[in-house]
Symmetry: C2
Subunit: 385 residues, 2 copies
């Protein structure tokens, strides 16, 4: 198996892009990534996206974007695992290079949500759940996560105020993230007074509705060392799935798919949770940040809140968790989010993260979730000297 | 790069399955394929599908199907390239095994169209075209192919009667295909008298609206030789894309993406078009059958009609083209079609194709198209003795 490296990174600002559609957003990120990689000959394009069909009437997304980016003729297709589409795009791109079938592969993610109504977006995102056994009964994606939040708070005796610390910290982190959707500090009181969406989830517990695109260029590690000083290896990668609907799971205060994917990715990279210096985790709702930290082995069960309060996961902590501000404050352009996370962790390891930079990280972790912990991809990135 | 083999095959009948949804259809094909492979430990599931989001309100399709098939926990996701989704599913599965990341991979395709109205299906399929520059102006997928048919007939001086030979031959072939949607002979006159859809395309020029699922199990070739006598190697595979909208293409009587993907796949497998014994090609409309034959190098330009009349592509011909009846008569469960084609060619090479069997084929070819020749995957399969 060939080793795989990240050699180019491109991002758009996350937010409302009224002047850009899917293709213009993707183009912006893709061209930056390709230029950043020194303009190699891209052979394949893998696109992570969830809602292009539902909200933009667009399938054939791979070919469309390849064409618009001047890459017509190359292999191109879309991968989908709901909000975890970006994570599986990285996995697919990894396999493309590791297999030897392609040398330079563009892995991108793009999502365009803000031109649809909130009702349309809510409905489109609910397709991440089970259409026949959950969506049919009128549940929304937020409602499913509200069940999890209530259960977690009760199981570990966590207060509503404690939960609100997550978005407060994330908004603080995002102050230093140039591409973040929000540059606005919030308080625990702001969270608790924000409108109720699905009890106990309030609007400031939720990741926003976002447009955005991110892209990375992958190539064989040996090739990367030849052309670049700042090389990041994809040292471990794994994907796992869970029972689709929550009622089947033994414990909804943990995502088994995260635990399994992390175990496999750590083993592949030959590292332990304590080796991780910087991580970007999937915090679409406040409670998920705490669950992620425990599932990834950064904290014992039920202790994530305590450690967060102590500042263990602040930028420069061990590990720094979501120095970008995470889904909550960097924003959550759904199918692109996993690629943003990869790009952000790679920038940290290359020491190119600018104002977001944490001190000299060597090992990074990316966790991307699709559905309610249904499809999880975990990747371990390593700085190569 | 590890060599990759097909060791298990499962199919459902193509047609209207009022009693089955996406998960029940996929389960039927998946379990057959896994049993056929001797019940190995499946590590990853790749699902080709186009319309689950548009017509079934279902994303997270990989996880949903893994769960329902008792494969919860494994890596699973969906790939999409419109009607060519099955072809890119094979490509992705190939990379998964060739990379060494996974040993046994289930590559499946599923589509559920018949419970939606014709208007809904027409709209969903039109998303294969460019939403902003084609769909927005009211074109349908059939209308785009009608432009191609008119142009091809004029360029090569082909009559409407000649074009009708394609569906007539396909319906004849399907008489021997147990899983085909149609078991009904038709005549040239039937085609010419069938209702007009988008001039000059008539209803009997079109692949039908179908439900269905197909699955194959992939594993390393060396492993396959150890466990099975009937082994088929994926000897070559490639994917290429074309300009998204037709107005940009220099010649719409040929699909550049087919030509490029075929060149690469032939080179990888070290074979020529004349070596191919059996092929399944993507004939969603009559004209595409002729274009495919020319693009794949089975005929000179403009001569496919003449050779078809001479019976060159009949079952037992060189190559036998679409002994299954093709999309026209086997049916076209869109995202599953590419996997049906792979399964059918593999069955031929294993000499397990029953009443469809052509005499002792050694080299097979599969061509899967997404959009109007926009994303094309070509795979070369080889019988291993």
């Amino acid at each position: 198996m060939r080793k795989v490296a990240i050699v180019g990174i491109g991002l758009t600002k996350v937010g409302r892009h009224f002047d850009k559609g899917l293709r213009e957003l993707f183009y912006e990120a893709a061209v930056r990534a390709i230029e950043d990689a020194g303009c190699p000959e891209i052979e394949a394009i893998i696109v992570g996206n969830m809602c292009s069909s539902s909200l933009c009437d667009q399938d054939s997304l791979g070919a469309l974007l390849a064409d618009y980016c001047g890459l017509c003729g190359r292999a191109a297709f879309k991968v989908e695992a709901a909000c975890g589409s970006g994570g599986v795009a990285l996995l697919t791109g990894y396999m493309a290079v590791a297999s030897g079938l392609y040398d330079y592969v563009l892995v991108g993610g793009v999502e365009k949500l803000t031109e649809a109504t909130t009702r349309e977006v809510t409905y489109a995102l609910a397709k991440a759940a089970d259409a026949d056994y959950e969506l049919f009964y009128g549940t929304s994606f937020t409602a499913l996560n509200a069940l999890i939040m209530r259960y977690y708070m009760r199981k570990y005796n966590v207060t509503r105020e404690d939960m609100a610390l997550w978005p407060v910290k994330m908004h603080e982190n995002a102050m230093k993230c140039p591409h973040a959707q929000f540059h606005k500090r919030i308080t625990v009181d702001d969270v608790l007074k924000s409108p109720l969406i699905a009890d106990p989830i309030r609007v400031l517990d939720c990741a926003p509705i976002s447009d955005g695109a991110a892209a990375v260029v992958l190539c064989p590690l040996e090739e990367a060392r030849r052309v670049s000083d700042a090389v990041v290896e994809v040292a471990g990668i794994a994907c796992s799935t869970d029972y689709m609907y929550l009622a089947q799971r033994p414990d909804i205060a943990s995502f088994t798919a995260t635990v399994k994917a992390a175990e496999r990715a750590y083993r592949m990279a030959k590292v332990e949770p304590r080796d991780v210096d910087v991580a970007e985790v999937h915090d679409a709702f406040s409670v998920l940040g705490f669950i992620d930290i425990e599932d990834l082995g950064f904290s014992r069960r039920g202790e994530a809140v305590k450690l967060l309060k102590e500042g263990v996961f602040d930028p420069g902590g061990k590990p720094s968790v979501n120095p970008s501000g995470g889904l909550k404050a960097r924003g959550h352009p759904v199918g692109a989010t996993g690629v943003y996370q990869v790009a952000e962790v790679a920038l940290q390891l290359m020491e190119k993260a600018g104002s977001m930079q944490v001190p000299s990280p060597e090992i990074g972790l990316v966790q991307s979730i699709g559905g309610v912990g249904t499809t999880v991809t975990v990747a371990i990135l390593r700085r190569v000297k």
